[in-house]
Structure formats: C-alpha cells, structure tokens
Amino acid sequence: MSTHLQVSQGDRHRTPLMSVAGYAAMIVVVLVIAVPLFWILITSFKERQDIYVRPAQYWPSPATTDNYRDTVTSIPFPAYFRNSLIITALLAAAKITLGVLSAYALSLLRFPGRNLVFLVVIAALMVPNQITVISNYALIAQLGWRNTFQGIVIPLAGVAFGTFLMRNQFLSLPGEIIEAARLDGAGPMKLLWRVVMPMSWPTLVAFSLITVVNEWNEYLWPFLMSDNEKTAPLQVGLTLLQNNEGGNNWGPVMAGTVLTVLPILILFLFLQRQMIKGLTAGAVKS
C-alpha cells in the first residue's frame, strides 16, 4: 500500500537528494524500532556472564537456550499464558461487540437523548483508569470476585474508545447506501451485518488489533485482582523473574519477553494483511 503511493508520487518529482533523505529517514526509523528488539532477542540467547560485557556482544556466542528453559520452568509459565489468552479473548470479544453495537446505535439509529448518551460515553473516555481503580477494587472485593476471571474482565469491559472510533467510521459511510438499504426493507440488524459492517472492516480490524494488544499488556488491574497463577496473566507472572534489588538475571527476563511478544506479533502479521485487503476494497468501492 505505502510502496504504491511512494512510487506513483516519486516518479513525478523526486530529486536524488530527496530520495537519499527519504531512505536515510527510513533507515533511522527502522533502527530506532529494531535495535532494542534485536537486543532483547540476542540477550535471550546469551549466557549470563555475556550479558554485561564490554565491548558488547552483538551476537550470542556461545548461544544457549537455557534462558527459555529457565523461564518456562522457574515460573508456572503455561498457567500464566493460559490466563492471558482467556482474559484477552474475553475482553476483546466483549469490547468489540459492545463497541460496534453502541456505535451503531449512536450513529445510525434515531432515538431521543442520543447525543447526551454519546457525550456521557465520551466523558468516560476522559477519566483515566487509575482513578477508578480503588472504587472498582472495593466493589469487586465486596462481591467476592477477587481471583476470578469475571472480576478481572467485567470492570475493564467498558469501551468508550471503541464507541468513539466506530461511530465516526459509521458516520463517514455514504448516506445513500444506508438509505437504499432501508428502502429495500433491511431491518436494523440486517443493515448492520449486511451493509454497514462490510464497509467498515479496516476500521474494525484496526480497533480489534489495538484492543487485543492493550488487553494483552494490561497490568495494573489484573495484578490487583489476582493473588497467584490461577488468574494472573503473563505480564504479572514475568515480574517474578525480576529481582527487586538489582542484580537482575536478564536472560530469562528477555526470554519471557520474547515469548510474550510472539503471539501478538503473529496476530499482527495476520491481521495486517486483512487490514490492507479491507483498505483497498474500500478504496475501489467508493
């Protein structure tokens, strides 16, 4: 997608200086993003004594997979991983469903007080998570929901961001198509599934991806809610590998980080293709 754009524009007015600057900028950006990731990756394969050395080792020698074995065996890694999957799946499903339905209602259905409801939802977006933590904690603790998945998931399932994003997407759709569908006798649900959603895939995929990444990395709330590996996600589990008074053994920490990033990376690669497909499909249609 982006390469297409560059080529078509560049053919017309690209000076050698500009293209050199462009490539230089591109390389800088790639380095800024890639070097820390590269460092995490090679550190996860280093032996402990090779981590802090000068001159630095740019390639692990000798390479070892001990760090990965340590990570998986020294903490109940599979349990944390399972919890992360459960929490992320439940939260993403809840947020996407709620986000799409509420945005649909707030953009394309007509009912009194619609704008007021939207304002309240947006106001909720402005309240930082950390502020509601104490009162949420009290509520959940009194319900006896600590150390349960519903205790972790339900307070986080509110979706002001999704509502906002999807509503704007729905409002940007051409009114004629919606009108035509209504004239053809499509009910509200049919309109949503057959007309509105197919035209909104790219936004929905982007929204889903952001949601999944956010929920996967959620730390504070699951940490407060869970006491052990029965419900705690991977992010909480990984802290067990750290030593709080310095002298960290970074190998296993980095190995754990790599293992935590992998699922999201795979999901990203897969969804990115969908996202591009959706974008081009939309472009052709309009």
């Binding site: 802090y52 949420n136 959940i140 008074e245």
Partner: protein
C-alpha cells in the same frame, strides 16, 4: 417528628435502603465482614524479595509442619515493595485484608502513621515471643511512638564492591577505603589505571536510591539529613559531604547510573556502592575476581530492605495467628535459610552461631564481610525513610548537586521542603 406517618416512615426507610445499596455498589469500602472472623489460611502478601518465592514456600512448609492446623497461602504481591504497598492500599479501601504484608523501610511508616498496621509489642508478648535476639538496629528501624510495627525480614545494607585486578594494578592494598578521604587519595590512581572511558567509582543516580548511599557519606563526615523531626541537610557538616560528592563528580571520579551493578560487572567501574542484595547477581555476572568491603567511615552504614507487618484491621484471632507466623518466618533457622538463598542479612544475632550459617560464611568470604558489617549499621534518617516522598526529594537534590548547583542553596531548599512535609503531614498525627 411526631407527625411521621407510617407511609412516610416506610418511604424514608426504603430510600435509605436504596442509598445504602447504591453506596455499596459504588464500593465505598468499610466492609467489616471481610476483616472479622478467624480461621482460614494466613494470607502472606510478598514481592518475594531477591526472587525468593521457592525459599519462602520452603519456610512456609516447615511452619505448617511445626504448627499443625495452620495454613499459609503465599500471594504474589507485586514486583517491588511499592507495588505491595499499592495492592495493600487497594485492600484497605476495599476490604479482604491480607494477614501479613512485606513492608519496606520507606513504605511501612505511612501505614503505621495512619493506624493501618498493628503494633506488634503486645501481640508478641501475649504469644510469649522474645525480640531481644533481633539485630538491634534492624528491629528498631520499625519503632514509632515507642512501639514496633514490623519484624525485620529481607534486610540489606549497602556494600563496597571493588575489582581486584584494577586494585592491584593501581598498587592499592587489598581492602576498601577506611574513610572517604582515603578514597579521594586513591581516586586519581584508579583513574590513571582504568583510562578515560572507564570510571573509578559507580553509584546509583538520584532516582535509584543515591539518597540511601549518600547517608553513609554524610554520616561518615559527621552530618545527617535529619535529627528526629528536624531537617538538618543545611548543617555545615552535611553540606561538606554534599560538596565532597560534587567534587568527586567534577573530577569524573564517580559516575551515576540506574543500576551500578551492571557497570561494575561489565568491568567499566573499578568499584561500586551497591546493596548486599545484589551480591548474588554480581557474583554470577562478573567475569573477574572482586572483593567486598565495609563502607568508608566507621559505623556509618545505613540499613535498608524490608520487614513483615500485620494490618491493624484484622480480628484478634487472625492477628494472633499472623504474629505466630511472622515470628517463625524470621526465626534463626528461617533467617539462615532465607539469607543464604538471597544475599540478604540474617536478622537474628544468634544466627551467627548457627552451624549451617558458620559453614556458609566460611565458604563465602564476600557474604561474611556483609554480615560483619551489620554490627556497624545505623538506623536511617527520618527525612529519608519516614517523611512522605523523602527518598525521592533527597535524590532529586543530590542530582542537582552532582550537576554542579551550589550545595548550600540546594540543601537549604531541601530542608525547607522536608520540614514543610513534616509539619503538615506528620506532626499533627504524632
């Protein structure tokens, strides 16, 4: 109120009921049911200091074996002391209190000040448990208004680490400097040996507990950050210590970083001040031979680390069980097991007569130095550990000094801030 009708009364009662229900929904806290009652497992919230989860589990198993009928569940309280405090704060608001928490040298006092921790003296006396075997400086760290609010558990002190190869290349004796003045004499020799891209001494920066290590420098020169509840950083002797630190920095004899153990293990720094809790890590990370020594200055070593405390809101039954557990957790056998696995300090005087400990120290001369230094420790200044935000405030001031700002001015401003915090937040509650 005489003409209150039956219907009116019912209406009011209903409204009150709804209001109460709503209040409960809003999570207003204060749920007495959750803190009352005995029985159930003892909930121990720990951040597993020094990656000690397995060791803690081992001690808990031994406790359960020695005390049939008791169960302890070990709960992940977070990655550091601050996170345990945060989780405990949430529990204080929301109910479901733990029975035992790990409280660090800087987090316990605020809870004690707000009457959220139980004073232990009576509980220990009622259980017939003695405290005179605890290392005095460590036990007395938790004193407030004449009562103790925690038992020492994962306690550490700073330690002087030095690279033996660089030491002998510089022609220095195989020991740490006896005073900071002696270090200043050594510094040019070390600088000449290590060259321009390395550094004689590495210390933590202001956001990573430089304030902890600086107490040693201040005390060894006769100064201190506070005397009881009076801020004394602008005392001429403390200012002299600040000026000394500034001079070291100006001559490039000291550099500051997030984790000095990294630079030291990489051989970039000839020596470093670091926690005893890092000894295990440095031993495994460093590829060269290194030594440990007492901090410069006699009897000027601050204590640090964490203790275990009991929330005040528990039923008497739960407190009784909890005190039994924390005493066991810090008894001679447990402290020996725990400290050998982590590098923290034994908190009992008689631990040094324990056979397992004697054998261990014989084999680990570096750890032996750390343990011997315990006798020369001193409880920290209130300005750092007891005044809210103290550590961060002092750390910031030290950062400014190191960057070259005038020491007397910075410390005068620091004193003003510290004193304001004491007067507004602590004095009213004393």
């Amino acid at each position: 109120m005489n003409d209150l009708t039956r219907r009116g009364f019912l209406g009011l009662a209903g409204a009150a009921g709804v209001a109460a229900g709503l209040a409960a929904c809003a999570g207003s806290g204060s749920s007495p049911t959750s803190s009352a009652g005995g029985g159930g497992p003892i909930q121990f919230w720990s951040n597993h200091p020094g990656t000690s989860k397995d060791t803690e589990t081992k001690i808990i198993e031994a406790f359960q074996k020695a005390n049939p009928g008791f169960t302890v569940s070990l709960i992940d309280g977070g990655k550091n002391y601050e996170e345990v405090a945060q989780k405990f704060n949430a529990a204080l608001a929301g109910g479901q209190l733990p029975d035992v928490i790990v409280a660090s040298d800087v987090t316990w006092f605020n809870f004690a000040l707000n009457k959220q921790l139980a004073p232990l003296d009576d509980l220990l006396a009622a259980a017939g448990l003695k405290t005179d075997d605890y290392v005095d400086a460590l036990y007395n760290d938790y004193t407030f208004n004449g009562k103790h609010y925690a038992l020492p558990f994962a306690r550490s002190t700073p330690l002087f680490y030095y690279n033996k190869a660089i030491w002998s290349a510089a022609g220095l004796p195989d020991r740490g400097p006896a005073t900071w003045a002696e270090f200043k004499e050594w510094a040019p020799k070390l600088a000449a040996v290590v060259g321009a891209d390395k550094v004689p001494l590495q210390m933590a920066d202001g956001s990573n507990y430089l304030d902890w290590y600086f107490q040693n420098m201040a005390w060894s020169m006769g100064g201190q950050l506070s005397k009881e509840w009076t801020a004394t950083a602008s005392d001429p002797k403390t200012v002299a210590a600040g000026t000394f630190l500034q001079e070291l920095a100006k001559n490039k004899w000291v550099k500051f970083s997030k984790s000095p153990d990294a630079e030291f293990s990489a051989g970039i720094a000839a020596c470093a001040l670091q926690s005893t809790g890092t000894l295990g890590g440095i031993t495994k990370n460093a590829k060269f031979d290194f030594g440990t020594a007492f901090l410069p200055g006699d009897g000027a070593c601050p204590t640090g680390g964490a203790g275990v405390a009991i929330p005040a809101g528990l039923s008497d039954e739960r407190k009784k069980n909890a005190v039994k557990f924390i005493e066991y957790l810090t008894n001679v056998e447990s402290t020996v097991t725990f400290t050998q696995a982590t590098g923290y300090m034994p908190v009992r005087k008689s631990a040094l007569n324990n056979d397992a400990e004697k054998a261990f120290l014989e084999k680990n001369p570096r750890a032996k130095v750390a343990v011997q230094q315990l006798a020369k420790t001193r409880s920290q200044d209130n300005a750092r550990v007891l005044v809210p935000g103290g550590g961060a405030r002092i750390g910031k001031a030290l950062d400014q000094i190191v960057q070259g700002q005038d020491v007397a001015t910075v410390f005068a401003a620091l004193d003003k801030e510290t004193q304001a915090a004491i007067d507004s937040q602590i004095k009213p509650k004393l």
